[in-house]
Point group: D2
Chain length 455, copies 4
């Protein structure tokens, strides 16, 4: 059964049918399609287009189909070109010609937009939840080693001392922002297009506000052409997913690095690593690599839909059918990645001793300059003086910490005996006392703020 065809003089070419058919992927919308149809049946009755009794039969028939899907019993047939056709076909089989009344005043154009929005509303919730779980695992891990010192890097060079907790939290905040982006996508999606017909609106006196309420939408679309043409919500969803995965890729990339034998800061649990078919000793951080690699895929999904929408003529065009697969794929990718990373973080072993061993004296060079500032030297001059000390240390094959006081004083008389205190790790951490810094109290405040943001 097709929902059209009366006007055609011959059947659709088989390959065309295959190209057009979206059932293989939009079957995922079965729940949303049925809920939407049930609400529509009620609205048609409200509007007097069908009787209440008819509405009840329609709703019950649809319930039966829902159960078939949930039980895995739904049997698709060749001609089911999309989920809407499949449901209407099956409904006809169950309740007879009355099924033909369901589509009154409705088009697949507004129907699919409704289904898809409902699906995305739920997808945003799921991903937000999974992101929250990952954040919680990160916060718990960060709390355990909130003040454990480690080298801080910029340009992957030793910069200043930071702590493990500080570092790990620096990757939680982006995810906290991602929850906002998912919430924005959800808001975009929560506007009901149903009742917009093919593009011109519906001929029946449907109360769209009531329909929105029935289906859990916050608002109704204001223009029937825009209602069937708009895919902003899908873009917003793909964008939120892309940025989220880019954030994961940055954390993953650095964890992969920390996991090399050369760094040796962390060790991944055996349950989260894989081996090699050839090299018996290998223990590979595959989940982290996939977290990094899949961000490319999600960028591609976003780019693809933007390019598909670009230059598209007004209203509904079949090109819009290309919206679903990238959305499903981005969702599936993150739905698997997020819990895997949650487990990986929860089972991660730290090597604090190794981190501490890597705390080179170089990391205190800025503290040295700040020390000179404390002695009244303008920062720019202090910077240059410490630069000279660095060169001297390199030349003498020693370190800033091992330079003798008179060597320091040969560079500037502002260096005094207390210069040795500069290389104390905790003192250095605690000097960064402004909000967002590495001092004990700043870190505790930061952790609390992050915990609060997740609530």
């Amino acid at each position: 059964m097709k929902l059209w065809g009366g006007r055609m003089s011959k059947p659709t070419d088989q390959l065309v049918h295959q190209l057009n058919a979206s059932f293989p992927f939009d079957v995922r919308l079965y729940r949303e399609d049925i809920l939407g149809s049930q609400a529509w049946a009620r609205a048609l009755a409200e509007a007097g287009v069908i009787s209440t009794a008819e509405s009840k039969i329609l709703v019950e028939g649809l319930d039966k189909i829902l159960h078939e899907f949930q039980a895995g019993d739904f049997e698709a047939v060749e001609s089911d070109e999309d989920i809407h056709t499949a449901v209407e076909r099956r409904l006809t089989e169950i309740i007879g010609p009355l099924a033909g009344k369901l589509h009154s005043g409705r088009s697949r154009n507004d129907q699919v937009a409704t289904d898809f929005r409902l699906w995305i509303i739920n997808a945003c919730e799921q991903l937000e939840q999974a992101t929250t779980y990952l954040c919680q695992a990160m916060l718990e891990n960060a709390e355990r080693d909130l003040h454990t010192p480690m080298p801080g890097y910029t340009h992957l060079q030793h910069a200043q001392v930071v702590t493990w907790g500080h570092w790990l939290l620096s990757h939680a905040w982006p995810l906290i922002r991602d929850r906002e982006r998912l919430a924005n996508a959800q808001t975009s999606a929560a506007v009901l297009p149903l009742g917009s017909g093919a593009l011109a609106g519906t001929s029946f006196p449907i109360d769209r506000a009531a329909l929105a309420k029935d289906l859990g939408f916050a608002e109704v679309t204001q223009n029937s052409i825009d209602a069937v043409a708009d895919r902003d919500f899908a873009l917003d969803f793909l964008y939120a997913c892309s940025v989220l995965n880019v954030h994961l890729s940055r954390m993953a990339d650095t964890l992969i690095l920390f996991n090399t034998p050369e760094f040796g800061f962390i060790e991944i649990d055996d349950a989260y690593a894989t081996g090699s078919s050839l090299m018996p000793q290998k223990k590979n951080p595959d989940p982290l690599e996939l977290a990094r690699g899949k961000s490319g895929r999600l960028i591609g999904n976003l780019t693809g839909l933007l390019a598909t929408l670009k230059g598209l003529p007004s209203a509904y065009d079949k090109d819009l059918q290309e919206d679903k697969e990238p959305v499903f794929d981005s969702y599936d990718t993150l739905s698997l990645l997020l819990p895997v990373l949650t487990g990986l973080i929860q089972t991660l072993t730290l090597h604090p001793q190794r981190m501490r061993e890597r705390l080179s004296a170089d990391l205190f060079a800025t503290d040295l300059a700040d020390y000179l500032v404390g002695k009244g030297v303008p920062f720019r001059e202090a910077h240059a003086l410490v630069g000279q000390a660095v060169r001297l240390a390199i030349k003498n094959q020693t370190s800033l910490k091992e330079l003798a006081l008179d060597e320091y004083r040969s560079i500037s008389e502002h260096f005094e005996a207390d210069v040795a205190d500069i290389f104390d790790i905790n003192a250095s951490l605690n000097r960064k006392g402004a909000s967002g810094g590495t001092s004990e109290s700043a870190l505790k405040m930061q952790l609390k703020a992050a915990q609060k943001a997740l609530r």
Copy 2:
């Protein structure tokens, strides 16, 4: 003058300097850089790092530089590798070594993030304003021909009757949503990173909350590593710009179509068209084509930055310098496109007669089916019956409107004499009375809602 180099044993290679230098493009941040430095000087004095008198000299010196930039008098020198270096160099020339105190406790990492966020906050405001102006022009145009009938298309085929006002408003709503996306980007940007140092925080007791207030930021960043690594606000901006331009591309594509001699629905004012070097008769809709074509460019800007950020290690890496040019380019593109399209819409000539001539009887086929529904025929059956009528009309080389009543009745006895009333344009428009539809009252409500949304 470089802000570093004490530690190096030889000068930078000339090509490396050229590759690294961002001054040619980040000079655009001069205002933000100076405002940020002035606030920092005040904060250093607040914190007791410098005296109030020193702070005053710094602020006044910076004022002088601001005026030099505004007057076009600022003279860059070869060694100005970025705007920060240029300003500090010039400040040293003006006020002497005291300038060297300004950079205390600050890094270019937190400085550039601050400058760039300030710039984007303002850019969002400018684009939101320009988008509003365009929307207003569209609303005014739509109001003039709110009820002027024209063919509505899906798949670029005749679908149902709509009106010009309805059609034009369908392109205003996406832009209204874009204003939200710009506002979201602005919120993302309005978080102050200053006081995060290179990555570990600042050693001086800076009151970052006060600093945020001074500079007009809503909040401060909570983690100093994230503060220098985060470019979400730039992505949010590029994303908002991309979607906005994709929306413009869809409207432009359809206007280009309506402007063909075959459609002939509109005519572009001579001031908004261009000619051909070879073909004397040509009047080309170049601004519309550029609105369409440039959306590719903006998609590229977004994709590019996403790819740059993907897999980047923690904290600051030089790769982040690649954030500015796409942002400036997307801004400049829209800053020019939006007012041009505003003018084009304001001066557009409609050809309502031409639109009316194109209202084929086909456009009423759904009304016919709805008519049968009114007679008690289930919609699916009604759809098939009208499909037969369409085929009959094609076979008889006539139209649905010209089919005789007995021809209709040969298809179904539900057709009666009143079938002729179906082809009345206004009646058809008014039947779509639900919100978002084409009826007179629905259109008036829609226009009001759009006006309200723009306020």
Copy 3:
């Protein structure tokens, strides 16, 4: 069975297994995997690592598995993490521990690269063939109406007279170039990585040149690290597919336009159109819209893999597993699109009369200017004079053709009585006699050149 794990102290987490597993998609490589393994077995025997008898048993066991796959009898088990594991597991079931010798000196890293290259070599051939068929359909169609005049457009405005054949051929040439791009991708793929081990080469004296010959590769890779890291061939394939689909999108976009009632130049066969669930009269050009829309998807596939590869560390990283799905998807998309478009072109109905009716006098304006050039007027002046004639015609609500001679002469005395001849359609077409132009002979030459290029 896993091909690794001896070194691990606990099993892989279930979700990690699911994330890592590539069997659901790389099972498509079964044929290539088995052929590669058979060649490897022969090579191991050649190298004396195993006996000829052992090699024979391996090859026959693999043959059995190949038949199982081809017959749809292969039964995967949960632990089959990829096609390589599945095949080795099954081989062990069939021939016992001897199967364990097959992986000597080989890694999944060089194995998968080999499988994938073999697959792409074949995919290029398939797509090249399908592209050729489409081109042939276009050439046949173009030949039928090689000289049928129609308006030529630039900026979608009437520019000059062209012919249908000329227009359709203008979309065949890009496809002919695409065949080159596919051939380039095939050449990229036809370099054998097998024998590179995990990254360092193989410890056994394998004759890789002979192995390449056995498997039909043109060359062997020259560096074992590059051999397992290189995915250029996948990029080349995705790029060729993207550009091909962009070309299809341009043809499709214009055909959709020509198919509107306003243009009415063509009509799509009922077998290649679809209808509407709501609007009984609709006949939508869905295949053309999908040809246009899917180009976004293919651009996304390319962008995604480029982003995945960007910044990836040397040698093999798990991120590389993300190479297959976009390649399979781009192939499947085009494998369906190309034959559908071939059928659509073969069954397309032209309306030459409609095209002829649309030949406005404006289309001859350049001919008019060239006429003046023939009278000795510099082209730039001629262009301006004809521009005046156009304005005069607009002002007088007439056309260039209908302007009286004295009106022409009021603009320039170079216009003479023979100006009327300019508006002859065939004369205009035939004036463009240089190669690539619209004259009868030029078009015939072009058609021949295209036919030759396809051979």
Copy 4:
């Protein structure tokens, strides 16, 4: 002066002019535009459209303009909307109305395509040369330490022993392939569109084959519509640039890693590093980070143009003007990056001792398995046995190398006294004797092959 406008009733809006104008960027095509015009002047004379004397005056006038540009003396005026207009305007100033004859039978559509192709032909040559220089520097560096052992990584974990020369060559081969891609782009570009007019061909009897020869093109375009619509050559160029930069990003990413204090394999020369404004000790590998980061930008350039071209109607549309800026930007980026990386590689210091220290016993695990294969153990079993040895070593906090023979024999009796020989570095390298492997002779052959490929 505009090249059109006779037909318009009012001047172009100022912002529209600014939006449309391409002179700010296409002025880069001045040389190509002038060479193209000179060839066209000669062709017009050949065709009898102008006299030989006129042609000579045109060519000489154009020569004068070329010199003005080269001397930096060319003065643009506000109305120069593109390079073609600017040159024709200036030519008119120099030689008077005769300049107006130059544009006979030519359009800016075929002219700009010709200019741009000429520019890209040259750009390919420049980039190919710069890539070759970089490769040569890499080969020279690789030759110096062809056999210097270092850990080989997969998944950034220790895999097997390789050598520095082998590693560096693994990044040269991709660049060698990039030269092919650039050559393909050059071939794409080397087809002459001139003589195609606006879209329909030229009315004058131009010998296009002779014109192609005059300008150094290999062929002429075969269809005048395709000739003005085709931008495949620009895509091919952008694609070649993207892949090249992705290759650079992978090498750069790993060099950044090798440059961390934790790895310490290499040291970048001071002339190729930069410092920090805050941290006096910093020596940052900025050029490598930019090589990595800019690959995002180049991916964006490619994606952007693909999206711009997607769905574009036939023939010339103004959207095509968006082709130039991404091409110029990708060229400029690589023109700077390639020589910088060449210098960086030439001045790189290796720390072979550090690499040697990092050669853990784990790297020989595959050799151990191969050893067992040599004793007749099927590889899969050997792999599992060595896996047990790895676990035993971890448990005993020792290494594979330090495990006692009886510990080995407790795992398998196939281990014998000669197992100790397995951990010899050179022996391990030399075992990989097949082509592309790490043995001395294989590496020498590889180097020779690479040198040959560059010739």
